[in-house]
Symmetry: C2
Subunit: 315 residues, 2 copies
């Protein structure tokens, strides 16, 4: 009866503004129940998708945190390749409205407005949290961030899945098929004699809905804590070490120590730091600094895939 379903976060790019020979600009893939979301699309994202064997056909939704080049310059090539390969399905892009004019200019210049598929643009505000995507498995909310230009993060929340019915109990209480869905949704069962059989008796403990918060680019801000509280994975930018705090504040970025502190306050399951300045040849010191605040810290690295396992709640 156990249904193992995916919830993962793959890193395609871990650099900030200037890429290095090792690090590509920001791009990530969140996979929730085989729905793939490309989160930011820095230069080379299409090459990184290829390298990581993530088929272009899987990408139907692209979420852009803010309209800086290192988060968007990969869109042009990706859209071009989609069209050259004859894509037919709609592509949904969620971003600040400025990006729509940029993409329209590109279509005019490069494709004479001809693409093999439709782009459906979803303008994002960055002042308030908003539900921007929802289906039966997942919902995505924006997280208002504090950067030099309008920016928002994204909170991915798995919908509470249906309960699994204990087969032996279903037989024992002779539950009719028509009642099954109600029980899966959490209702108690009332039998022919009018006896109430509590739902808890009939079902396995529920699976904990998983969540991931993606927060870049941003200054340190505790205003996002209510939203990111207890997420399984917090991805948070750590452009600088804390000895560059002044520069971080000035440019609207965070330090590794700040990212660690935020993860601790949020009670996150795991912290992934990324968006590293090109000045850091290795991530050793960034990791060390964040771990002093929050031991469960990992450095974003191209090609790494972090999986959030499904766990049953203990009642």
């Amino acid at each position: 009866m156990e249904n193992i379903v995916s919830f993962s976060f793959t890193i395609l790019g871990s650099s900030s503004g200037v890429p290095t020979s090792e690090r590509f600009p920001a791009a990530h893939v969140v996979n929730v129940h085989e729905r793939y979301f490309l989160v930011d699309c820095g230069e080379g994202a299409q090459i990184q998708l290829r390298k990581n064997n993530i088929g272009f056909g899987k990408i139907n939704h692209i979420l852009i945190s803010h309209v800086h080049g290192d988060h968007t310059f990969g869109l042009f090539g990706l859209i071009s390749s989609f069209s050259l390969l004859g894509r037919k399905s709609d592509l949904h892009i969620y971003a600040h409205p400025l990006l729509e004019s940029i993409l329209n200019d590109h279509r005019k210049h490069y494709y004479e407005n001809l693409l093999s598929f439709k782009i459906i643009f979803h303008p994002l505000g960055s002042k308030k949290k908003n539900l921007i995507f929802e289906d039966e498995k997942v919902e995505i909310h924006t997280i208002p961030l504090k950067h030099r230009i309008p920016a928002c993060g994204f909170l991915f929340r798995e919908k509470p899945p249906l309960l699994n019915i204990r087969k032996e109990m279903a037989e024992f209480y002779r539950i009719p098929v028509k009642e099954m869905m109600n029980i899966k949704m959490g209702k108690d069962f009332i039998n022919e004699k009018g006896e109430i059989i509590p739902n808890k008796t009939l079902t396995l403990p529920p699976v904990k809905p998983r969540s991931l918060a993606y927060c870049t680019d941003t200054k340190y801000t505790e205003s996002i804590l209510p939203q990111i509280s207890n997420v399984d994975i917090l991805y948070h930018e750590a452009t600088y070490l804390h000895n560059m705090l002044e520069q971080a504040v000035e440019t609207g970025h965070s330090t590794a120590r700040q990212a660690g502190r935020l993860a601790a306050k949020a009670g996150a399951g795991k912290l992934i730091i990324g968006h590293f300045s090109a000045r850091y040849k290795t991530t050793d010191r960034l990791i060390e600094e964040a771990r002093a605040e929050f031991p469960g810290t990992y450095a974003a690295r191209e090609g790494d895939c972090h999986i959030i396992e499904q766990v049953r709640m203990t009642m």
Copy 2:
């Protein structure tokens, strides 16, 4: 007295429209006497420059064959990185005028027109060959090509270097210092008695000026033969195998066999084929086909650097 100076061609990207996990879109570096020319600038060019240890500061001239995405999408990130790193020196971009409006749109959207350096745009025509760059060491001419949109190749010609004077002859004929430059430029020497000492007696055989022709994207066309005759390196696109000739003609591209044939007719020293369709996982068959026409064929491969050696003419 021998002065070994560089003339090389480095490949940063060998793919056509759609990159693969191995192949980046078109980008190349021509180095003539330590003048670096970035030739086409597909997505990821800046990352490839980093990987190949070609310092950003060396790139002052960017030549764009035509305004398709796979030859230009790397410009946005490269310009952005130049500016983030505080570049001060002018950047010269040679391309079809359409690219200027595209870059202007980008500046407006992404940088509010603020860059740390100046872009000097040189509009290129594609109907006639034109001298577009010249200094004391090298000249660059456009090569009119035949593609779906205006496109031109580039011919790099080393200027004939000054002659080297044989030291022993200079002493024997007691050549005064003021005459040296004339002799280096090829003049005979007339001594005090009015005797003519032929230049050939006084100097080493001249060094053969080197040349490289870069031809992509284009259909097969013999109209370029007069320009590319006897070049040391011919880089020519070979998007398809010859069994896809129809597709090649339709899309304004060449086949490997055609590239080989052209190199043979031009009497090129070496042929490098590139701009490979993503359908070819390896270049084996492309190379085989071109070599049947022209044995000195090599496949473009990311990171390869082809050096043209300096040779003295035999008199």
